[in-house]
Point group: C2
Chain length 549, copies 2
């Protein structure tokens, strides 16, 4: 049977990927775990395919790596090779890459090493840090398909602004990562390179849309990764894959050169931001390295707000949002929220409960504003190649009504959005709440294809609040997370609540999945929110630190 | 003949105005100059209707007024009464008010005086400063018609955010001012309170849309006024009426509570900003008083960029834009630009010529984005009452094409806008230019109904650059501004150029009009731009200062 035209086109994207894989590091098929093995997170350690030193390197944070390189104890080349090896293995298990950049990355690392040897100095605060990059963030002379088969041939003419800044700070880009069709699933499947899997349980989604970044950082294929987020696309993969993710306030991080179909749409601003395999400290390192270069001097839509160093303070009021008033979180999430509350109280932090303020209204606004044109542009992009519309694409396209909004209808929603932002801000101030701890999603990592409910993350997008995701340290536990009698009697409030609640038939469905928490802070309080999240994580984990070399 | 329904409705707006005029200060009709007298700028001095002390008070800047009140030499009450008296006279001559607020203003001034007497302290940096306010900026419990007959009954439920902040800083609002139908003429006529005139020549427009503010500050009915600007609406009236005007970078000054038909439209951000009767120092006073209250803490769409004090520096490069490449400026404007160049060079400032960068492209973008819905909303607002569409409303509605843009078409334009901004910014940096001196309009104040060409101001709106207007000190001169032989041979480049050039048949047409200059600076360099404009003005005027009490 001959391939359809779109399949031949999609094959080009797969060829780019396959030709880029450094074959010398491919693990023999028979050394890999069976495809039925769900949890592969420990495979690098158990397989013997990476040396002890490589394992140690890939366990380090970016901050630690830079310190080690600065002390002359590590070379950039061995660092990037270690991460490349782990990434190749990760890709074999999780299908998270769209293109490896091994030769360039190693060449760049050698340059960095030469510079250090020559001058005794690092080139910048990210010297030699391997960073994985979501595919739709343009790289000069490389294709950029944004999850559309129609675009597999399109070549970016320059590096995205953010990549230019990171490169100046010393970063090394070693692998590009997967994203869903049309960029708008909290999942990660497309018709080009297919579905990316979750390293903790391969029946689960790594989340999305920055799902390749979730897998990359979750499996420690990179200490830092770059995602984009308009409804949860950084935070959801971070939560699902046990890594760290940060959605900054919009118009802080440079976005120019990230390719999307609806370029110029600004009803809801997408943001670009970091994921980290190990720590919020690395998120800060990333943010500082970018913003100290004053990107607003070039990309004028950014606000000229420098990144400032903020020390965490215990003198804060943290609210716990147990439920958003629309969809009940699953037992493992509630368990993590309880743990947070207990630990914070024990540490003397002021903790209150958060009564959500009109989250259904927030969802009505943001879901209507994602596709003011009834997703005509996205559907056209898909029709252009003839590729099938994937179910989760159809799902999000249907957030909009069947016909485009008129401009006045869209303006009315934009006005409502601004009023809602001001009102929510006033509510936080009136209640004296600095930060809100909440679920990132009704459950832990969703079963593949089931990521339907966005509003535990999208609410902070419509409100444009900085929000941080970190692993609580818990994983799903068959006993602790079993449905209680009371749970079994739960009467859902509405159809959506029912749909989401029914997905939690048993903890076993989510076996092995990490449980994340999300912390949101006030508009433009990015630094304070990160500092608070760092302190909260430390308290919840009893001060446990990440491992050292 | 019975009045039409819309006329009866419009009458309500006139009744509000007429009932609000403090009758005790109305000058007898026979004491007023004949309606054929064009220039009335000196009438307050010549008429004997104001006392010497009142004339002195109304000649002072806000900065001086506050200093005098702080020294106990002036009382807020006598200050507001002096400005009210001048405003009543100004209104009789220029029809610039929509509502007087005499009783409230005097009551508030008395409170301020009592506070000062009790504590020995001023309530804030604008203690006792009378400020006139463009009508569409909402005031609690007062009507707000925005130039639409359909809205003459609409009552604002709270004070606009900016007014709240100014009131906290001690300001006294004493008069509300006129605006054109639909807010979008560089002129000032509507079907409610009619046409406002230019104090320097009553056959000329005061400019618009903040034309009432132009007349108010130009005639010194208020030391400070508040306008709004999406294409020149603060700067054009300031230029036409010989006062000072400032268009800040958008999202700095609080805009909430300014009523417009297309609320929520954000393709081009309107801004709110000050006009001053006397000085750029007062513009700074206004900006600082507002932004030191951190309005972004309440109005979350604002950027958290504090106002900083910037000292002017002679170490700058100033470019002169002689022509925007589209429409040739009239002789008086060119004379002012030449004066600026000469004086700046003599003062040792680095001056270069500015080659405009694609201003026609900028106009294509902004004119298409004013009315993405083909002005359907504005036309509907006008149809609602049945009032006639005024010619200059029709003029600007026709900037848009006949049918609405699709959303993707609008996004494409927004993307082009952002690219144009970045490119223009890069051009300024590459050329090493800090500030651009340019015309504000092809000519001085336009003949009534002829304000057609917006792009000497609108260009800085599409680019979102801070821009300042100040009087050059020149006025139209029959001899110096006569068309030269060379001028008479000028072959316009296009129809628009021809139309605008033909308006300059002779200097006499613009007799008495002041000649303004505009200074634009880089995005978010509001403070630097104001400081530079202040220095430039001082140099052009040989250090001449405004008069003291």
């Amino acid at each position: 049977m001959s391939l359809e035209q779109w399949e031949r086109q999609a094959q080009k994207g797969r060829d780019i990927l396959n030709n880029s894989i450094p074959k010398q590091w491919l693990a023999p098929a028979d050394s890999l775990p069976p495809v039925t093995q769900k949890n592969v997170i420990d495979f690098p350690k158990k397989s013997g395919l990476l040396s002890e030193r490589e394992l140690s390197i890939t366990d380090l944070s970016a901050t630690q790596l830079v310190a080690e390189m600065g002390a002359g104890k590590l070379k950039a080349e061995e660092v990037v090779v270690a991460f490349l090896k782990r990434a190749v293995l990760g890709h074999q298990l999780l299908n998270f890459a769209t293109e490896f950049l091994a030769d360039e990355a190693i060449a760049r690392a050698k340059e960095l090493d030469a510079h250090f040897q020559r001058t005794g100095k690092l080139v910048g605060p990210l010297h030699g840090v391997p960073i994985s990059v979501k595919e739709h963030i343009g790289m000069k002379d490389k294709t950029c398909n944004t999850g559309y088969v129609a675009w597999v041939d399109q070549v970016a003419t320059e590096d995205a602004h953010l990549l230019q800044l990171l490169a100046k700070a010393g970063a090394v880009f070693h692998v590009r990562t997967n994203q869903p069709q049309a960029l708008m699933h909290l999942c990660c499947n497309n018709n080009i390179t297919g579905a990316t899997l979750n390293p903790y349980n391969r029946t689960l989604t790594p989340g999305g849309s920055s799902g390749g970044e979730g897998a990359s950082t979750g499996f420690k294929c990179a200490p830092l990764g770059i995602g984009t987020d308009i409804g949860g696309s950084i935070r959801c993969p971070a939560a699902f894959c046990g890594s760290y993710g940060f959605r900054p306030t919009s118009m802080r991080n440079p976005l120019a050169g990230a390719k999307v179909a609806a370029i110029g749409q600004e009803t809801i601003h997408g943001v670009i931001g970091p994921l980290s395999s190990t720590s919020l400290e690395d998120i800060e390192l990333f943010q500082k390295a970018v913003l100290e270069q004053e990107p607003w001097d070039v990309e004028t839509s950014l606000v000229p707000v420098p990144w400032k160093t903020v020390a965490p303070t215990r003198n804060m009021t943290v609210a716990i949002m147990w439920d958003d008033g629309c969809v009940r979180p699953h037992p493992p999430i509630v368990r993590a929220l309880k743990l947070a509350k207990e630990k914070l109280l024990a540490a003397g932090i002021k903790v209150v409960d958060w009564e959500p303020y009109k989250h259904d209204h927030g969802w009505k606004i943001i879901s209507s504003l994602y596709y003011p044109d009834a997703a005509a542009l996205q559907r056209k992009m898909i029709r252009e190649s003839g590729e099938p519309v994937l179910p989760l694409s159809e799902w999000c396209f249907n957030y909009s009504r069947a016909v485009p909004l008129t401009h006045p209808e869209a303006w009315e929603l934009q006005y409502e959005r601004d009023v809602y932002r001001d009102d929510y801000n006033a509510v936080m101030k009136t209640r004296g709440v600095d930060f809100i701890i909440s679920p990132t999603y009704p459950g832990v990592a969703a079963v593949y294809g089931e990521s339907h409910y966005w509003n535990y993350t999208a609410i902070w997008n419509v409100l444009d609040l900085p929000s941080v995701v970190f692993p609580s340290g818990l994983t799903v536990d068959a006993k602790l997370d079993a449905l209680t009698e009371q749970d079994q009697k739960y009467k859902p409030r509405n159809e959506v609540d029912e749909r989401e609640w029914e997905k939690y038939q048993s903890p076993e469905r989510y076996e092995g999945a990490p449980v994340a928490l999300q912390v949101a802070g006030r508009h433009f309080k990015d630094e304070e929110t990160l500092a608070a999240a760092k302190l909260i994580e430390e308290i919840i984990k009893d001060g446990k630190k990440v491992s050292k070399l």
